[in-house]
Symmetry: C2
Subunit: 379 residues, 2 copies
């Protein structure tokens, strides 16, 4: 009886004034978002390289559809369950850019392959045989891309023999197709200096090319060579090695990516914000807002107030679970009670994963609300 009777207000609705939106709220500023969306699509098209954006950054069907409408060949997902809402919504081509293991996960892949063209990554022959058996049982085909380690030292085989053993294992499975290779180096995405990032991207591309030569010596050509991220996208596009790139954060430009040097044609804009309210200002020099680490991810640094104060008068200095502590200089903190602040999250992917929807704003109004269907889907 209680359940039905407690009125819980919706947090956002199209047409609503931004000033009436309860905080915390995850915002997309649409002008910046659309500029970022268009720019990456344009650069990829100009380079003749396929764009397959990473949906782990946004986890939202509405955004994936906009990416495909802008020319993307499909999307990447990082986990099988993450891919389900996209397959259910009709996104036709999904690449699982990560390894999985076990009969339960292989069965999930086979189920996904009934609904979308699915490609997956492997770095062990046991993964290949598990997914081969599940695909054969389900009567589906799955494209399989060995992942090669191009310097990250995390997943992926690290020598030609191991790569060729994977190709043989894929060949031995009737329901699997050799789909090419994935070479991804996450660490180099985050190098601050432009020139050093370029050099690191060139080394990773050269490492990928080395594996391709080993395959060519066996008479194998790769239908797809996939990799790259937001930080190295321009270098990956001009490398001549990748047929496809996988950037995700370019849509949002989080605080960390915003702190890097951008000297090329890609100049992403901050489009993702967490709206907050100062709810306590009882001490001189301190204001406390309602956005803590349950509303903004802090693994890549604390959020910063937007627009930035030239004089740093208001700085987010500590995140507790539901409190964000701000230092206040040159103002009476009591004047800030009830003030709304936009925060740029340090890391967009895990921040989106804390929320159920984006409130998409243009000017003073909420223009649309987009669900984050894949939030929490990490299996």
């Amino acid at each position: 009886m209680h359940e039905a009777s407690v009125f819980r207000p919706p947090h956002a609705a199209a047409g609503q004034l931004l000033s009436a939106l309860p905080t915390p709220a995850l915002l997309i500023e649409l002008d910046a978002f659309e500029a970022n969306l268009a720019r990456m699509a344009e650069l990829a098209e100009r380079a003749g390289v396929a764009l397959r954006p990473h949906a782990k950054a946004h986890k939202s069907v509405a955004i994936a559809q906009r990416q495909v409408d802008a020319g993307a060949v499909g999307i990447c997902c990082q986990k099988l369950s993450e891919a389900y809402p996209f397959a259910a919504a009709g996104i036709g081509s999904i690449h699982l850019s990560n390894e999985f293991v076990g009969a339960d996960k292989a069965a999930m892949a086979a189920e996904l392959a009934r609904h979308a063209r699915l490609s997956i990554c492997v770095d062990d022959v046991r993964q290949v045989s598990q997914v081969g058996a599940a695909a054969a049982r389900a009567g589906v085909r799955i494209a399989v891309l060995p992942e090669v380690d191009v310097g990250q030292g995390r997943c992926g085989v690290a020598n030609d023999d191991a790569l060729l053993a994977l190709v043989d294992a894929i060949d031995a499975e009737a329901a699997l197709d050799f789909g090419g290779v994935q070479g991804y180096h996450g660490g180099i995405q985050h190098i601050e200096a432009w020139a050093q990032r370029r050099e690191a991207a060139q080394r990773a591309a050269e490492a990928t090319a080395g594996y391709l030569r080993a395959l060519e010596r066996r008479g194998l050509r790769c239908p797809v060579v996939t990799g790259g991220g937001t930080g190295t996208a321009e270098f990956d596009l001009e490398s001549g090695v990748y047929t496809e790139i996988q950037p995700g954060s370019y849509l949002f430009l989080d605080g960390h990516y915003g702190s890097l040097e951008w000297e090329g044609a890609l100049r992403p804009l901050h489009s993702l914000f967490v709206a907050s309210t100062v709810m306590s200002a009882a001490r001189a020099g301190v204001a406390v807002c309602d956005v803590g680490l349950k509303s903004v991810a802090v693994d890549s640094g604390l959020p910063h107030v937007w627009p930035r104060d030239a004089d740093g008068a208001l700085e987010y200095v500590a995140a507790n679970d539901e409190h964000g502590v701000l230092s206040v200089t040159g103002a009476d903190s009591r004047d800030l009670l009830g003030e709304r602040l936009w925060l740029v999250p340090g890391h967009c992917d895990p921040t989106a994963n804390l929320h159920d929807a984006y409130a998409c704003v243009r000017g003073e109004r909420v223009e649309a609300v987009w669900a984050i269907e894949a939030r929490g889907l990490s299996r």
Copy 2:
């Protein structure tokens, strides 16, 4: 048409073998959980102090009901929206242990007060008048507790005059009752050494008592003096100052709390785990599991493998979004592919906030699945 046709397997079901549970999965080990639940209830009852556990730690109605069944007088919530599922499920007494501001939030409080006995915290007279107006309009009564700063330097008034001004403001609102005071020091919960934590708790209790004397000089007695957390619970119980304590993490004992010294009657056990699977082991000395920072919070340190290896043969050394990197010594990492590992999260509250349900296990089986209804409810 697509929507209905993609089969998404449920992640957990009562009766299921633990070994069949897809990972990542958030586990409660019930024997340890029940021991923690009973122990705190027993200590509070013995001390004659009310126990009002903090639901921000678990966000689950099933757990709140067990806490009330074990003798708790009600629960604390940290945000208004967080309290809604508990009010809807019939938890009859809820304390909002945090400030809020704005007409929208005041209206949420008034709505909550229609369904539960509600108390709230304030540290500014403007908060009092907003909630007073909303309560009067809704025809409800709300108990209001000024928060006093006992050393945390975050929220709460820091002198007697400001406290008395709040009491006057509460008196001036026909729909509000003066409910007592809250004095909470989050920082001291985490002091490692037992003796130092005891001294810090005594100082915080003495600071609280100072505010109580100021109220007594005005002829005011506090119906409730609330505060304290897991780290200082035993000291708070014996302080003679608090009528009520607010611990949350005692149910779970996360990695951080587990690293503290526990020398008293309270010896909580690890009961919260994230089950993971090694899904890549392509390099010597490295294994990669499927639990990264989207499945386990890392703000208070990385998770650790459970049970701990005496020789540290397997150590979680880096968290990426969906990858946990483990260093492997004294074993062939390839033998670990497909291996299941239990991880103790560094911080329980934000870890629970990443998941939709607890798989509650006893021995080899899932005994129950408890929803995390308040996950993501930070408004």
